[in-house]
Assembly symmetry: C2
Homo-oligomer: 293 residues x 2
């Protein structure tokens, strides 16, 4: 395992996440190679300076790599792992950027012994997808979860941390199960709520032409995640299904309590419950940060 500055990093998948990471790493390692299915994606990545070279041939792209990052949807990663691993040189660090880690960790554990596997999940993104939306600053300041396996060497983990840090992110080492539990509530649940809100507005108030004139910034914020990439989200929901269902269950209990408070018009209890929630939210995000929401 080399130091990052001497390493060839190959990014497999030049969508929003992969192309942004490529652009962030370029110049900080020996060489960034992009692999994509579509030649057009490679052309754009080259034109925008995200990669040193690119290819549609996976074997060619990874054969001299020191680090390979799979930047494809979770279920594509699950298919790619056993196909790509045999193509990698001895000691190669094989990372991914998949949003759920449980099933990927199981698959990684079965890879040939000459590979150093490391799960990864950067907590950033935006509603637009594809290489066109890529931005090397995307990872700046975000938490980059790393899920090492028992077989992952300390050197490989250190190199993985260096990749995250070179992109401007903060590495956070977390077991796969614990990451899947946490993101179900802080990421996947908010997506589903936003979707249900958009569907509700679409079914009712959207019929009134005045509806969009009265939409305040609150609806916009609350519904924002409903614009997320469908392929990515379908993948996430299907590969983190159990944790998502548990989070939805807890959510429905809490929503049910709020509905009862409105229904019974119990003012005192309502004030108390909403007050505790407000205090919790404000503790989550100190005042100094609230302006940028």
């Amino acid at each position: 395992v080399k130091e990052l500055k001497d390493a060839q990093v190959t990014i497999v998948g030049l969508g929003l996440m992969g192309a942004s990471l490529a652009g962030a790493l370029r110049g900080k390692c020996r060489r960034v190679v992009g692999v994509a299915r579509r030649a057009e994606s490679i052309e754009i990545a080259l034109a925008r300076g995200f990669v040193d070279s690119g290819t549609t041939d996976v074997a060619e792209g990874v054969c001299e790599a020191d680090v390979v990052v799979l930047a494809t949807p979770v279920r594509v990663i699950l298919q790619q792992l056993p196909d790509i691993a045999p193509l990698l040189p001895e000691g190669c660090l094989l990372m991914d950027l998949g949003s759920t880690k449980g099933r990927i960790a199981v698959e990684m554990a079965q890879l040939p012994g000459h590979i150093q596997p490391l799960g990864g999940h950067p907590m950033c993104g935006k509603e637009k997808s594809g290489v066109e939306a890529a931005d090397p600053a995307l990872y700046k300041g975000c938490t980059f979860i790393l899920s090492p396996l028992k077989r992952t060497s300390q050197e490989a983990l250190t190199l993985g941390c260096a990749v995250a840090e070179a992109a401007g992110a903060h590495p956070l080492i977390l077991e796969p199960e614990r990451q899947d539990f946490l993101v179900a509530t802080v990421s996947h649940l908010p997506y589903l709520l936003a979707c249900a809100l958009v569907a509700t507005a679409d079914a009712t108030t959207s019929q009134d032409p005045a509806a969009w004139e009265v939409v305040a910034t609150g609806f916009r914020s609350t519904s924002r995640l409903a614009g997320s990439d469908v392929t990515m989200m379908t993948d996430i929901l299907l590969t983190n299904r159990e944790e998502v269902l548990k989070a939805l269950d807890t959510y429905q209990e809490h929503l049910g309590e709020l509905i009862r408070l409105v229904d019974t018009a119990d003012e005192e209890k309502m004030r108390q419950v909403l007050g505790v929630i407000r205090k919790t939210r404000r503790e989550m995000y100190p005042a100094s940060q609230q302006v940028i929401e």
Copy 2:
């Protein structure tokens, strides 16, 4: 009824909404007078240049007003209307900034004949409350709903529009019932969803110290409204209870459908449903606007 530039405008209630409106109108009318319960709020409003003068005595504050704006919570407005109306000069425009309009319209209809009543609801705000958080730019670009009664004269409505426009807002004339139906879905419902989300995270993932390190911007946006002022929101939920319950009912149907899709892992249907929702969300907010979310 005078033109706005010749009018004395008295704002009753110097919280976030009232003090911001006062600051926005100052210099665009003859005189802005602030009325507050606490002398300290008046001192701050004077020091920050939001008002020309202030008083804790409502009668004194309104006796020479051409326009009076009640900038207090909805149920306080309901109490103030019959108390303040007799103190107003002949032909005085009496507006409010309450977030729900149905009950206020009923109360306004019963006021003495020498008053020109006009319901108002500016679609803006922020999570901080009080005169300390006031900002004369708060109303800029927002929709300012106006709900005239049958008895409201065209001149009074024109003056109300001038108040909204002087603050930088776009007036939108809407019947009280229609405004209450619309804001239940686009404003009150998102608040409750955000609250239930915060309560869910607080009950589960918050126990894990890593939870806040993995929070992406999505949770932040979706939960933002949970930081709203509790007095205002309690007031809103209690005075728009029926419409809010109807909106919650529709929301639960749509959330239920999404839960079934996750539970049954029906990929094809999931893609289709999430795809329609994504398209709807993107049509609501054209791409050019998405950067400022």
